[in-house]
Structure formats: C-alpha cells, structure tokens
C-alpha cells in the first residue's frame, strides 16, 4: 500500500502538522510519499521522495495549479490513499482531487481501524465508521488526532511543474488586525461560549476576569454573534493559549476550540450538559447553568 501525503507550508515555513500525516500513513500500514507546495528553505525531515511545487512560482495556495500537480503525482505513483490535513488548505483541495479521480473521500478522520475510517459528527457528540467503496480514497485527518512521526533524513526532491491555467488568483495574505489582543501569555483566561445566552451575560465573564486578574476569551459563536470582539477568539482559527487556569463558561467544546486550549494548565468547564465534548479535555466539569454558577463563584473569590 502507498499513501501520497499532502504537506503544508505557510509563509515559507513547513507546518509541523505535516508530520501528523506520517502518523496516519502508519495507521494505514502504507509507504508514504510526500507532495508539498513550499520552498527549499522549509523542507521536512524525511528521507523519501518529495514532490515539491515551488511556492514562489505556484503559490502556497492555488487550488487549480496544486490540483493539477497532485494529479500528476497520482498518475505516476498510483497511491492507494491521498491524505490531507483537515485544515483550510486540505478542506479546500481534497474534494477537488476526489472529484477529479471520482474516488470516495472521508473527512476529518480521527482514527483508522483495519481500513475503516472513524469520523466525528454532530459536533463530536457522535462518531461514524465509514468505508470507502472505491479502490482508492482521499482522506483528510483531524489536526491533533494522529501522533506525529518525524521520519528523519533529507528528502529526494522531484521538482513539479505545470502550465495549467488557474481559475482562481491568490492575491496574498491578510494578517490578523493590529487590534489583536495577545492572549498567548495570559496566565488566567475566562472564556465565554454560546451557553452564556446573551450579550448582557458576558458581564459575568468580564467581572470574574477582573477579580481574578485574568483575560477574557471567547468561542467562535460568541464572536460571530458580536457579544465579544473578534480579537479574543480562541481556537484553531483564532488564538492558541496556554494559561495556568482556563475557565470555559458555556462552551460545548467544538474540536476547533479544544485545539486552541489543550496546552492549558488546569481547565474548569461549566456546562449544563454533562455529555458536552468539553468534558473530554476539562480537568473539572461543573454541571450547572453558567448564569447561576458564575455569580456564586465570583462572590466566593471576593469574600473567601
């Protein structure tokens, strides 16, 4: 069996998550080969064949050109699996490859057991086992679900080329705004989730943060609703944090949020639902309504 792994680089640097693809390849009991749109300055530690698309020429993101080059590698190597990260890049590109090859795709895979893929669904409240009916498959893996493997060594580079036309122009990156608040160094973070209920209730979060000397964070739905500013969003599309104490208030625990808080020292989660996925990562899950529990906790902190 052979897997074609699709690595990623961002702004000239290899993404470390690329090594998780090697972990998935091992679970598939396959020989890995690698495709990467990157530069020679950011090569992976891996001794096999690297099909390298020069990111200076073809961009770090260009679905049409990258698709064309990946299909060239597929034609030449005939891999059993084409494996992507379930990242912005992989989510975008994987279905294009699957559709071009008319082969099945499994998305956001968290485990592989005897060739059957395990996927999450319904906000991680359920899992599905999925089999692919075609002889080959496209797979995207959930970031963090597979242990990274650093094969070591220097890759044998095969430079890729294409003169395909692109229907989409990548005009560069727009950086995070200057108003960005850096939560990365905060020692205490009190974070609000949808379970807080209303914008007014976020006062409970601000109040506790002030008394504890911490920062306020938020999950995506709270930011989208405009209850707390965008620059305080925590998770894979926001900031990654590592406070000594993280208090998650009414956050159900979507995987994107968990990815941003997993390096926290001690996690207290407050949630009405004892089955909420945040329980998978919390050191203590308080089964309660945040709007009732937070005033009680704040009072205890002020008047011990």
């Amino acid at each position: 069996m052979k897997t074609l792994l699709i690595g990623e680089s961002r702004e000239g640097r290899l993404l470390n998550a690329t090594y998780e693809l090697f972990g998935a390849s091992e679970k598939l009991k396959s020989e890995p080969i690698l495709f990467l749109a990157g530069t020679e300055a950011g090569l992976p530690s891996y001794a096999g064949t690297l099909y390298l698309a020069d990111a200076k020429k073809y961009g770090e993101y260009n679905p049409d050109l990258h698709k064309n080059m990946i299909l060239q590698v597929v034609e030449k190597e005939n891999p059993d699996y084409v494996v992507f990260l379930h990242s912005s890049y992989g989510r975008d590109l994987a279905p294009r490859i699957a559709a071009s090859l008319r082969i099945g795709q499994v998305s956001e895979v968290v485990d592989i057991v005897d060739g059957t893929f395990e996927l999450t669904c319904c906000n991680a409240r359920m899992h599905r086992s999925v089999r692919v009916s075609t002889p080959r498959a496209v797979v995207t893996i959930q970031p963090g679900a597979f242990s990274p493997i650093r094969p070591g060594g220097t890759p044998l580079i095969q430079a890729m080329q294409t003169d395909a036309l692109s229907s989409i122009e990548f005009a560069g990156y727009e950086p995070a705004g200057p108003e960005q608040i850096d939560l990365g160094k905060a020692g205490i973070i009190i974070s609000a989730g949808r379970g807080i209920g209303t914008k007014e209730n976020t006062a409970l979060i601000w109040n506790l943060a002030r008394i504890l000397g911490g920062e306020v964070g938020a999950s995506r739905p709270v930011v989208d609703a405009g209850w707390i500013e965008h620059s305080r969003q925590i998770g894979s599309t926001g900031q990654t944090v590592s406070p000594e104490l993280y208090i998650a208030c009414g956050i159900s625990g979507a995987i994107q949020h968990l990815a941003g808080i997993k390096n926290s020292g001690y996690i207290v989660a407050i949630n009405k639902d004892r089955d909420a996925p945040i329980g998978e990562i919390a050191d203590a899950l308080v089964v309660a309504d945040v709007t009732q529990f937070l005033p009680a906790l704040t009072e205890r902190v002020t008047k011990p």
């Binding site: 499994v106 991680a124 692919v132 229907s167 005009a171 203590a284 089964v287 205890r300």
Partner: protein, 258 residues
C-alpha cells in the same frame, strides 16, 4: 444574472443523539430541525448581492431532503430568495457527499447560474465536500470558507479563513461557487410582512431520482456515541457548594487563589 443558494436542514446540535434502527444514522424522531448555521450566512450573502445589484438577479434557494425541509426553504424565501426548489429525497441521510453534489450539479447544469452559494459544511456531517464537488462537476471556479465577499462586474474577491487569524485573499470570475463561513455577514431575521409575501412564492418539487442515480463512493457502516476518554472529574450539586469545591480545586491544582 442568476443566483443559487443551497441550504441544508439539520437537527439542533445540543440534542441527545442515539443510533436509529439502521445503526448507520441517528434517530430523527423527537429532534428539533433548523437551517444549518453556515447556510444562514450563505442565504444572507446571496440576498445582499441581489440587493447590491438593485434586485435584478433571480435568486433560487435549493434544499434536498424529506418533506420537512420545506420549512427552511420558506425561511429563505422570507429572507429574500425569489423561488424555491425542493429536491425530494427521504433517504438523503444515507447518500454520500458525491451523490448529494451530483443532485445539485445536475439540477444547476440546466439553469446556468452565474453564482452559487453554499455553507462551508453542514453541522451534522461536516464533510465540507458537497459544495466543492458540485463546483467541480459543473466546471465552476470555487473558493471556500469565505469570511469576506465583494462582487463587481463578474469578479468576486473573497477572504478565505485560514488558521490562526490569517486570511487569504482570492479573486475568481463567474460562473463560480463560494462556500460561506460564519461571521461572513450578519444574517437577518425574516420580517413578518416578508413571511406573508413568501407564502406566494413558488416552490418546485423534483424527485431526487429524476436528477441523479450516481452510485455512492463511501458508506457509513455504523454510528455510535464515542467512548468518554476524559479523565476529569464531574461536579454536580447546588451552586454554592459547587463554587466552594471549584475554589478548592483551583487552589490544589494551580498557584492561584492562595
């Protein structure tokens, strides 16, 4: 100009899910259904574009599923879509993304839409495949996970959400398909007069079997509640006792509150 927005009806994600008799999908009875969150943003963006162009574009909303999906088609019509298409398919939950994309593409092929909007994924299955696969089948340019969208004379400029707060700027020309991320805009609530007006708008029903008989490329063999792996403790009881216990835990496990 012709616009299409594709929407899905999904159960409330806070529901208690359990496997149904087939063992490969969840029990649907007793669940409360609503529009997929990302599709709210897709509908809003399509209506905003129609408004930007002085109301000229003809905007169709499409949904696939059993009878109940008509509810969200009606909601989209009340928000500002002109006509609805219901691809009737009681077994849609057992179709794979390729089959669902084939239904959309085969319907859209005849209609020559300039621009198609979808959500970036569904909240229940979350494959993030259907929109892009439909675009590939139609030969349309596509961009995904948009948190910014502008349109000027056939040119779309999109902001694609990447990781860590970074965004990618992309430009593409119609005909095209874009998938919408939450935060792209502020979805409106349908106003009462528009809900009444929407009742007069046409909803065309097409049996799924008339559009596509594509075979599935993947199959769900089992759906199940994942085993709990968390090693944390669970605290229950009255609020003031819980507050005391949490403070003690923070003292024991951190350097804080001492």
């Amino acid at each position: 100009m012709k616009l299409l927005v594709c929407i899905k009806q999904i159960p409330d994600m806070e529901s208690q899910f359990k496997p149904d008799e087939s063992g490969s999908w969840f029990e649907e009875s007793g669940l409360v259904y609503r529009m997929n969150e990302y599709d709210d943003y897709a509908v809003e963006q399509a209506v905003l574009l129609k408004e930007q162009l002085g109301g000229e574009p003809d905007l169709t909303v499409l949904s696939i599923g059993p009878d109940r999906v008509v509810e969200i088609i009606k909601k989209a019509l009340a928000i500002g879509c002109d006509r609805g298409v219901h691809i009737h398919d009681p077994a849609v939950a057992h179709k794979d993304p390729w089959q669902i994309a084939s239904l959309i593409a085969n319907f859209a092929k005849e209609q020559h839409y300039d621009l198609i909007f979808t959500g970036m994924q569904s909240q229940d299955r979350g494959s993030a495949q259907v929109g892009v696969m439909a675009a590939e089948q139609l030969g349309y340019a596509s961009a995904t996970t948009l948190v910014g969208f502008t349109y000027h004379e056939g040119l779309i400029t999109g902001l694609c959400e990447l990781e860590g707060g970074l965004k990618g700027i992309v430009k593409l020309r119609t005909p095209a398909l874009v998938t919408c991320q939450s935060g792209l805009n502020t979805p409106r609530y349908p106003a009462l007069p528009n809900i009444l007006k929407a009742k007069k708008k046409e909803i065309r029903t097409i049996p799924a079997s008339d559009l596509s008989r594509a075979a599935a490329l993947t199959a769900t063999t089992r759906i199940f509640k994942p085993e709990k792996k968390g090693s944390g403790i669970i605290l229950e009881g009255d609020t003031s006792t819980l507050a005391d216990r949490v403070i003690n835990l923070i003292r024991e496990n951190t350097t804080l509150l001492r």
